[in-house]
């Protein structure tokens, strides 16, 4: 590495890491994420649901007796006329059941409420009535033990899945793979987008306040571009490392709870998921590839962003050229969403090889277990393409940084590549 390059990298890195905003986001982000995950549960626990009484006017005579109260909702059968009941303040809602509810449930049930009812209340009432009508219908067949027979016929199977391609036949969990794949793919999306654009805006800024002229009189433009990409990349790695440490520390605290949960859980899916999460070989492989794809994906896309940044004077002008980078990233995101449903489809295979989409799609596929040659080939292709892309970008950058005024088109960028 040339001396100038290392000086540039050091400046790019230190100027960012020392900033208050970096320190704050790095520490605050996991806290916010945790808060987002935990908050609904806490809120649900803290808030006691509102209790309400629903008046039931049952003309059929078969439903009201079969309704079961919940913690929040109490059904109370009333004999009064609807207009009388409407005047009573005590009822949160009035449920009117017509006489032909068993034969024609659609037109025979009405719920009157003060204000709009909550979704859970509505669903609860609906389920209760459906159950009531169903059990009444079963009764009408007058077959002994029909209910018992129907329950016996019901099947609820839990399947165990094993991977044949692994040395040890570990139990795998597709649920966990799905969650892990989605999680890692989103992390990649977030980092490539955030840090790729950071490279772009930082180049635009340098160009805009003309400090660039001063810098390129001392260093080769290639070194300047490379130094920026690597310096900002180092910031990204630093941030990821801090988060990884926080996550590992957090899960070490949570692990005892999770293992006891696994021991007591009778749901085999959960047991498999937790045991897989605790499998060091599986997790290590994921982390290694995640880092490889994260760095490769960042390098590849930030070279595109660097070329775009060099070509424009201000961020507004960049929006049009940016589509060159954003469209494939969004495409990769969308494809990854479907890949976690079907990780071995042809689409999944091909898009996990093309460097524009491979980092994210591969990360989405990885937890499901894919042949090693595929992961390795994809990594090699990504890094080779990065060298191609950086070569191309450097050519554009060299010309672009001195172009002021006119907003260039994509075709003009391609023409710059041929300049000597």
């Amino acid at each position: 590495m040339s001396r100038a390059l290392s000086i540039i990298i050091a400046r790019e890195y230190l100027e960012r890491v020392k900033r208050k905003s970096f320190i704050i986001t790095t520490i605050l982000m996991p806290i916010i994420m945790l808060a987002i995950m935990v908050a609904p549960a806490v809120i649900a626990m803290m808030s006691t649901p509102e209790e309400q009484v629903i008046a039931v006017i049952d003309d059929s005579g078969v439903v009201a007796g079969r309704l079961h109260d919940s913690d929040e909702i109490t059904f109370k059968r009333v004999a009064d006329n609807i207009d009388v009941v409407k005047k009573e303040e005590a009822y949160g809602a009035i449920l009117v059941i017509g006489s032909n509810v068993v034969t024609d449930p659609d037109d025979n049930v009405t719920l009157y409420t003060h204000g709009s009812p909550s979704l859970t209340t509505e669903r609860f009432v609906k389920d209760q009535i459906e159950d009531a009508v169903e059990s009444r219908r079963i009764e009408l067949y007058e077959i002994d033990n029909l209910r018992q027979i129907m329950e016996d016929v019901q099947v609820d199977m839990k399947m165990k899945t094993y991977r044949l391609d692994q040395d040890e036949e570990n139990e795998t969990s597709s649920l966990l793979s799905y969650l892990l794949g989605t999680f890692m793919m989103l992390i990649l999306y977030f980092f490539i987008m955030l840090y790729g654009q950071m490279v772009m805006t930082s180049i635009i800024e340098e160009k805009n306040n003309r400090v660039l002229e001063l810098v390129v009189s001392s260093v080769n433009p290639n070194d300047l571009m490379m130094g920026k990409i690597l310096g900002i990349g180092a910031v990204a790695v630093t941030q990821i490392l801090i988060w990884a440490i926080l996550i590992v520390a957090g899960s070490l605290c949570l692990m005892p709870f999770m293992t006891t949960a696994a021991a007591t859980a009778d749901d085999p899916t959960l047991v498999a998921a937790i045991s897989q999460l605790g499998d060091p070989a599986f997790m290590a492989k994921l982390v290694v590839f995640m880092v490889l794809f994260l760095i490769g994906g960042y390098l590849f896309y930030s070279s595109i962003y660097a070329a775009i940044g060099s070509a424009v004077d201000n961020i507004q002008d960049a929006s049009q050229l940016q589509t060159v980078a954003i469209v494939p990233i969004i495409l990769a995101l969308i494809i990854s969403m479907s890949v976690v449903q079907d990780p071995n489809s042809g689409l999944a295979l091909w898009t996990s090889m093309i460097p524009f989409t491979s980092p994210m799609v591969m990360m989405a596929r990885m937890p499901f277990g894919i042949p090693v040659w595929q992961s390795l080939l994809s990594v090699v292709l990504l890094y080779v393409s990065f060298f191609g892309m950086i070569w191309l970008s450097a050519k554009i950058y060299r010309v672009g940084i001195f172009m002021y005024g006119k907003k260039p088109t994509f075709m003009e960028l391609m023409r710059w590549v041929r300049y000597k």
């Binding site: 000086i7 003309r210 009189s217 001392s218 260093v219 433009p221 000597k420």
Partner: protein
């Protein structure tokens, strides 16, 4: 070509037949020039003539399509840029960075160690009386203040060749003067200065040689004194005691034009005239000397402003010719 001078003087920089084309636009067309060591060299030309492109080629920022650049006798390479200091016309600094940190950063890019850079910078900051800015952020500085920092960064590593593009823009007259003295001091210490500006008064004051570029061609090259003589058109002014009318009548046949001037407080009259040929001068002075009491004699030299305008307008009206002299 500058034969008398080149015989005993080495050129720090030689630009030989350099051409550079951008899409549909020829920025430089077969431009050659020689910058003698230890002198101040003016690089002049209207906006868009190709000066900045040439300066960028000298700085190894862009490469010429054809032709070559010799620095200190050898082909210019990337390694030579540590021996060049360049102050671009459009210049800025990192806004969020502290002045001192930033100056050290630029100095290190030019090859200085951190310790050397800091030591040299502290000296320069003291010399230009800006030591108190060291820990300030650049965004807190005024434009002129930032220019001073940029100047220091340009010269700090003691480069053999200094290139200043409009160095005085943004400075008040006092600071411009400080800067001018610093530039001349650097020249006296052995540095060569290339000076690009539109301020012709400062060219007359500072430059030993100039090159004028117009529409990507070198249209005029030479030492400033020689050029001014050449463009003088044989114009002179004499001051004398005696009858102006009679004198004018006497010398009228020898001159091309003649113009009486005001008589000054000391009773000395002045007459301006131009000759068809320098050879007529001796004859004319003889005639005048017999007629009146001659007090002063001055050749009238055109300003660089005039030379600039005349040469550029001429070249705009005719097809470009290779530079004379």
């Amino acid at each position: 070509m500058l034969l008398t001078e080149n015989n005993f003087m080495t050129n720090i920089l030689q630009v030989e037949n350099v051409s550079k084309t951008f899409t549909n636009h020829k920025a430089l067309d077969d431009v050659s020039l020689e910058v003698p060591e230890g002198k101040v060299y003016g690089l002049l030309g209207p906006n868009g003539a190709g000066k900045t492109t040439l300066i960028r080629i000298i700085n190894h920022i862009t490469a010429p399509d054809s032709g070559r650049v010799l620095f200190d006798g050898h082909q210019l390479t990337a390694a030579d840029i540590v021996n060049i200091g360049y102050l671009p016309e459009e210049r800025g600094l990192y806004k969020k960075m502290k002045v001192g940190d930033q100056a050290v950063f630029f100095a290190r890019l030019k090859g200085l160690s951190k310790a050397d850079a800091t030591r040299a910078l502290k000296q320069w900051f003291e010399r230009l009386e800006i030591s108190s800015w060291w820990d300030k952020k650049v965004e807190e500085l005024s434009k002129g203040m930032a220019q001073k920092v940029q100047f220091i960064v340009t010269v700090l590593h003691n480069p053999k060749l200094l290139i200043f593009d409009e160095p005085f823009s943004g400075f008040d007259p006092i600071n411009a003067n400080v800067l001018k003295h610093e530039i001349l001091k650097l020249r006296d210490e052995g540095a060569t200065v290339i000076f690009s500006t539109h301020n012709m008064a400062s060219v007359e004051e500072l430059c030993d040689n100039i090159t004028l570029i117009n529409k990507s061609h070198n249209i005029l090259t030479g030492p400033v004194s020689e050029l001014r003589r050449r463009f003088s058109n044989n114009c002179y002014e004499i001051g004398f005691e005696g009858n102006a009318k009679e004198l004018i009548a006497k010398i009228q046949p020898c001159v091309r034009t003649i113009e009486p001037m005001a008589t000054d407080r000391d009773g000395i009259s002045h007459v301006r005239f131009s000759l068809n040929s320098q050879d007529d001068l001796r004859n004319l002075l003889g005639v005048a000397n017999a007629e009146v009491m001659l007090r002063t004699f001055n050749p009238l030299l055109p300003s660089m402003d005039e030379i600039f305008i005349r040469t550029v307008e001429n070249s705009n009206h005719s097809t470009p010719t290779p530079p004379e002299l």
